[in-house]
């Protein structure tokens, strides 16, 4: 019974984890990329 309710609730939650993963990767690439570019720019001086 409890398993049935849990699976029904799980079905109601939208399955859109791929968008979350994409957003977190994009943000990390932008922020880490800028940090690396600053490091290289200050080393090249």
């Amino acid at each position: 019974m409890a398993d049935g309710v849990a699976s029904l609730l799980a079905l109601d939650v939208p399955q859109n984890g791929g968008y979350m993963v994409a957003a977190y990767i994009v943000a990390a690439v932008i922020l880490v990329g800028y940090a690396v570019s600053l490091y290289r720019r200050s080393r090249d001086r």
Partner: protein
């Protein structure tokens, strides 16, 4: 220790904290029932938006003071803050549509909040392009200060656009007159992320400022 070296350490600390934010948001913060996992984009989108706007506020204030005081440090700070502001505005304008697609059914709409945020990015880019185009330091500083003040005027319109216009964008749930309507565990994650983004902003600006200063010294020399 130089400003650039200190900035590097602050940035490193910010990146470590950002990694911890990722772990907390993805593993230890519950999934919102109606939006699903896409709601977790909120924890990086909102702090980036706050710093994209705050960075422009700082540029505007530095520009106002520069026009009165003629202190070159204010001009340098404004340029450094503009370069960093572009980064945060880019994070906002990429994570926002990635959230919008599953929740609104579209990547982009010409909604007031979205359009004004895009305008903010264009002001940042215009500010930096103008600085690159003018060689005379005094003229460059004065003209870019005017753009910085225009950006400052834009920021309240961005923040209040969801109240002033009919928009798809959600209403504020934390930065509003009443208490935040976000469950405690989610609010802690958001505030933790805001702290990480704040440290990143400081580290980025310290490093960028030192690069701007070095470039000026090289040109003068």
């Amino acid at each position: 220790m130089t400003l650039a070296q200190r900035g590097r350490w602050v940035t490193f600390t910010g990146l470590v904290l950002l990694a911890l934010v990722y772990v907390r948001a993805l593993v230890f913060t519950p999934t919102e029932a109606t939006q699903g996992l896409a709601q977790k984009i909120y924890y990086i989108h909102v702090p980036a938006a706050v710093w994209a706007e705050t960075s422009m506020i700082f540029i505007g204030l530095a520009s106002v003071f520069f026009l009165f005081l003629k202190d070159p440090r204010l001009d340098r700070f404004a340029e450094a803050s503009a370069q960093v502001g572009v980064i945060f505005a880019t994070v906002v304008l990429t994570t926002g549509p990635i959230w919008g697609k599953p929740i609104w059914g579209t990547w982009w709409t010409w909604d007031a909040r979205l359009t004004l945020t895009l305008l903010l990015l264009f002001i940042y880019l215009g500010y930096l392009v103008l600085r690159g185009a003018i060689t005379d330091p005094g003229l460059r500083a004065r003209y870019s200060a005017v753009i910085g003040i225009c950006g400052l005027v834009l920021v309240p319109f961005i923040h209040f656009s969801v109240l002033m216009f009919r928009t798809l964008h959600p209403q504020p749930i934390v930065l509003k007159p009443s208490a935040p309507s976000l469950p405690g565990v989610m609010l802690v994650t958001l505030l933790f992320s805001f702290g990480a983004f704040t440290i990143l902003y400081i580290g980025f600006v310290m490093q960028t400022y030192s690069i701007v200063l070095a470039n000026e010294t090289r040109v003068d020399g």
